[in-house]
């Protein structure tokens, strides 16, 4: 099989072993650091693109690098390098020390050597040989793009696959010494439909972590039907009329509203910046009593799951909001140091070239007691958001996100499809307006871009009703 040639046969860190890691950490501490952390990474990635009935791109990539972070008091210096030799790592430590201007400082942190090795990668070393071959991926992508060709209104068909395999070693002066392997696979389908002056698009992305066989189980027929139907439903849709209105947000990727509107504002990086309205609201009501929200590190197979975070801590399940009451913030090492909120195993980074920061993992609103129909029936004039696009939140807590597939609600029933809607609002205003939660919680994979790069996350929720929100349209 060609795949076995494209895959690495082994994952190696060269001479980057325990003795060297300890030597480097001792070196940093001797020079006056309070804390030294080394993150070493080795990656082996592949992506495949199918367009119409052909494979048009196969792109393998691989690499190695290290990120070294030094803390002194509440500030940190971070240096990244592709040079994993002793000389290269020592130079990076020196540079970080020099940046913090602490060479020969008499006050030194304590380092008693690395603890017993915690190897989270033991059961995962076989993954690289279990993931599908490029040939297998190509064949399935071509079958899926063929499945999208359901009528002559579909003018473009794309299927894409991406596999990221990352092996890491994390060692730090508090004794942390761990290794892990992370595997993420995503597959996406996209179409553009066109008829005279009308155009629409449809897209869906599916993803998993730590499940090498997942791609083989992917139901491409169901996925293709879903994407096709979405594009057809939206092809002749009118633009939505703008205004304030109640909305029902569908389950799965509808969870992006919580991710953007509230989740980011519960990260300690936002407390550090003073950009969250929830900073002093612990144990206070910040949302409707129907809202319970959770951020957890391990949900089997979910895209944001971690065995260990990028600072070497096992991730905990964090109940962020319980019945509308704020219970916890999402914290990393720097967040704990600078804000006092205990680490939650949420220190995450895209790769070695970013310092870890407090980031969401699998974040969702817990299920409630209502059916989807209960929510829709309760609205006489509003919007049903079946599929959401991307979104963002700004420094004042104002968020926005796009509705890819929406339908008007009239007298408690779904009616015409509408396009061009954007939901905008402010976190502290919208959270109390989530008045009903459905009983159909589902999760969806996504990518989140923030201070420490793009990381894999899960968003999720049951169907929810927002009593009133600004819908941008025409």
């Amino acid at each position: 099989m060609l795949s076995s040639q494209i895959k690495s046969n082994e994952i190696v860190f060269g001479s980057c072993n325990k003795d060297l890691l300890e030597e480097i950490i001792f070196y940093g501490m001797e020079l006056g650091a309070d804390f030294v952390e080394i993150f070493v990474e080795n990656t082996d990635n592949s992506s495949v693109l199918a367009e119409e009935d052909f494979i048009t791109s196969v792109s393998p990539s691989f690499g190695k690098g290290a990120g070294i972070r030094i803390f002194k008091d509440k500030k940190d210096g971070f240096v990244c390098t592709n040079d994993l030799t002793k000389h290269g790592l020592m130079r990076s430590v020196s540079q970080a020390i020099e940046m913090l201007d602490i060479t020969d400082n008499k006050k030194r942190g304590v380092f008693n050597g690395l603890d017993k090795f915690r190897d989270y990668s033991l059961s995962k070393k076989k993954w690289i040989n279990e993931v599908p071959s490029i040939h297998e991926i190509s064949e399935k992508l071509l079958v899926s793009t063929k499945s999208l060709k359901k009528n002559n209104k579909i003018i473009t068909r794309k299927g894409s696959y991406s596999r990221n395999l990352q092996e890491v070693i994390i060692a730090s002066s508090d004794g942390t010494y761990v290794s892990d392997i992370r595997l993420h696979q995503t597959v996406g389908l996209n179409v553009i439909a066109s008829d005279a002056q009308y155009r629409s698009s449809g897209s869906r992305r599916f993803g998993s972590s730590g499940m090498p066989l997942e791609f083989r189980l992917w139901d491409h027929e169901k996925a293709a039907n879903d994407v096709f139907e979405s594009s057809m439903n939206m092809l002749y849709a009118d633009y939505v009329d703008a205004g304030q209105m109640p909305v029902v947000l569908a389950n799965k990727f509808g969870g992006v509203i919580f991710h953007e509107a509230c989740g980011h504002l519960l990260e300690t990086t936002q407390i550090e910046r003073g950009t969250t309205p929830f900073e002093n609201k612990l144990n206070e009501k910040i949302a409707h009593e129907s809202v319970t929200a959770i951020d957890e590190g391990i949900s089997e197979g979910s895209f944001g799951s971690l065995s260990v975070d990028d600072e070497g801590m096992e991730p905990e399940k964090s109940v962020l909001i319980k019945d509308g009451i704020l219970k916890k913030f999402i914290s990393d090492r720097a967040g704990e140091l600078r804000t006092g909120h205990k680490r939650t195993g949420s220190g995450r980074r895209q790769n070695y070239s970013f310092a870890a920061a407090s980031r969401m993992r699998n974040t969702y609103i817990a299920k409630g007691e209502h059916s989807k129909e209960d929510l829709i029936n309760s609205i006489s004039d509003g919007l049903y958001c079946k599929s959401m696009g991307g979104g963002s939140v700004g420094a004042t807590g104002q968020f926005n996100f796009a509705v890819e597939e929406g339908y008007l609600i009239k007298n408690g029933k779904l009616t015409n499809p509408v396009k061009g809607a954007t939901l905008i609002g402010e976190a502290k205003e919208v959270m109390p307006k989530i008045s009903m939660c459905g009983n159909d919680l589902e999760l969806a994979p996504g990518f989140c871009g923030s201070i420490s790069g793009s990381v894999n996350v899960t968003v999720g929720q049951p169907h929810i009703k927002v009593d009133s929100i600004t819908v941008g349209g025409r």
């Binding site: 791109s57 990539s61 420094a395």
Partner: protein, 450 residues
């Protein structure tokens, strides 16, 4: 290893693997950056990074590619091997070749390469900037997003046909994003970004002033009524919208069926005859300019819209061959080569008699919405459909007075927007992403809270 040595090493490794045709692109960078928080250093960062992208052609002339950060001898051999294997999956329907212009002379600007000033000076300058910004107005309580950085990098392109290009340069960037708070009012936030070849070239004072003025000017905000309004786009916001819909000019997007244009669109009237748009990667004001693209093709000034009509598309080697023209210097380097604009320049053409020149944002006393900055482009633009729905920072002008808009979105269609340009003001403004004057457009939908 330097770039000449890497080229030699790739050549020797390729020979040993019996690979006759190859090319590569590489970048080597050193970056230094600082962030501060109330006078204290927050995070100080340095990085040394290298990225190497190798393409090889197999005996059937199909291309394969691999990217790596490992430029050791073994890393290079592994990359060549992987690219060779990947070439079995090369696209048989759209062949890739070397750019025919990869050995043409390139126009290298005075690169104005600067020496590093070092982390300590970066920190001192940023601390001072933060203090000045905090002191500029009592309502400015913090500068939550800030950073000062300097970068030094080399870009390389070489191929087995003897082409070799190398380009080194330096660049510095400062961003300051202030947050203002007043009692019983929502916080307001705005910022400014400045670029230079080095830190000493950056106008720090004007960055502070811009960030402060923009932030405090929005303190007295009001909701805007949902309706259609006469719109004036700032230079920054008009460039944002043109860049968001640049697939109109992009031959790759046309071939992929995701552009509003098609192969026969050249000559199509898109807007008033008063509009010219160029892509000018080598413009003297473009700090980030590069004299060649990912395939080694020289960068150049190219007219995209001439007197309102589509004049040219931007091309890679393969799209140019399909369109029976020459590459334009806009390619990346990939298994499927991407194409993107460099530096958009918008200007008023000589055919401007149909413009309503009374529309001047500094003097017009009728009602209009001034769009200062568009946000969340990744979420609110449907480039393949032409539609947009975007949050913005801006103003409602009425009877000679201006009121900051609390929160709103502007929605529309790019073709409608271009066809309904009413005026192109005379003064062009240089921004970090291109050059444009203020542009007036008739009747776009604004959604507000009122």
């Amino acid at each position: 290893m330097n770039s000449k040595e890497i080229t030699t090493q790739i050549s020797e490794a390729a020979d040993s693997l019996n690979l006759r045709k190859w090319d590569y692109g590489a970048s080597f960078s050193n970056d230094y950056s600082v962030q501060v928080d109330n006078g204290e250093a927050k995070q100080l960062k340095a990085s040394q990074k290298q990225i190497l992208t190798i393409r090889v052609w197999n005996e059937s002339n199909l291309v394969g590619i691999t990217t790596t950060s490992d430029i050791s001898e073994s890393g290079i051999k592994k990359a060549l091997n992987q690219a060779n294997i990947a070439s079995d999956f090369g696209n048989k329907n759209e062949r890739t070749e070397f750019s025919p212009l990869a050995k043409d002379p390139i126009e290298v600007k005075d690169s104005k390469k600067r020496n590093p000033v070092g982390i300590k000076k970066l920190l001192t300058l940023l601390r001072e900037a933060e203090v000045k910004l905090l002191e500029s107005h009592e309502s400015i309580k913090s500068v939550p997003y800030n950073g000062l950085s300097e970068s030094f990098y080399e870009r390389v392109y070489a191929n087995s046909d003897g082409a070799f290009r190398s380009y080194t340069k330096s660049q510095a960037a400062l961003y300051l994003y202030a947050r203002a708070e007043e009692k019983n009012k929502k916080p307001r936030s705005s910022g400014s970004v400045k670029l230079g070849y080095g830190v000493d070239d950056i106008d720090i004072e004007s960055c502070i002033k811009d960030a402060s003025n923009k932030t405090i000017s929005h303190l007295n905000y009001k909701s805007i009524k949902t309706d259609k309004y006469l719109i004036c786009f700032s230079p920054e916001s008009f460039l944002t919208i043109i860049n968001a819909f640049s697939s109109m000019f992009n031959a790759r997007s046309i071939l992929d069926g995701v552009s509003l244009s098609n192969k026969n669109s050249i000559g199509e009237k898109l807007s008033t005859e008063a509009l010219n748009i160029y892509d000018d990667g080598l413009h003297e004001k473009n700090i980030s300019s590069s004299p060649f693209d990912g395939e080694g093709t020289p960068t150049k000034r190219l007219c995209l819209i001439n007197k309102g009509r589509l004049e040219n598309f931007i091309h890679s080697e393969s799209t140019a061959r399909i369109f029976k023209t020459i590459p334009t210097g806009h390619a990346g380097l990939g298994s499927k080569v991407s194409v993107s604009p460099d530096w958009i320049v918008v200007e008023k053409s000589e055919e401007n008699s149909d413009l309503k020149t009374s529309l001047d944002h500094s003097t017009y006393e009728g009602e209009f919405v001034y769009i200062e900055e568009l946000n969340a482009i990744h979420a609110g633009v449907r480039a393949s459909q032409g539609s947009f729905s975007l949050p913005f920072d801006g103003w409602l002008y009425k009877n000679g007075k201006k009121i900051s808009i609390e929160s709103a979105t502007v929605a529309g269609d790019i073709k409608y927007l271009l066809k309904n340009i009413l005026n192109i003001e005379s003064n062009q403004k240089v921004t970090t992403s291109g050059i444009s004057p203020h542009i007036w457009v008739d009747e776009l939908s604004i959604t507000g809270d009122a």
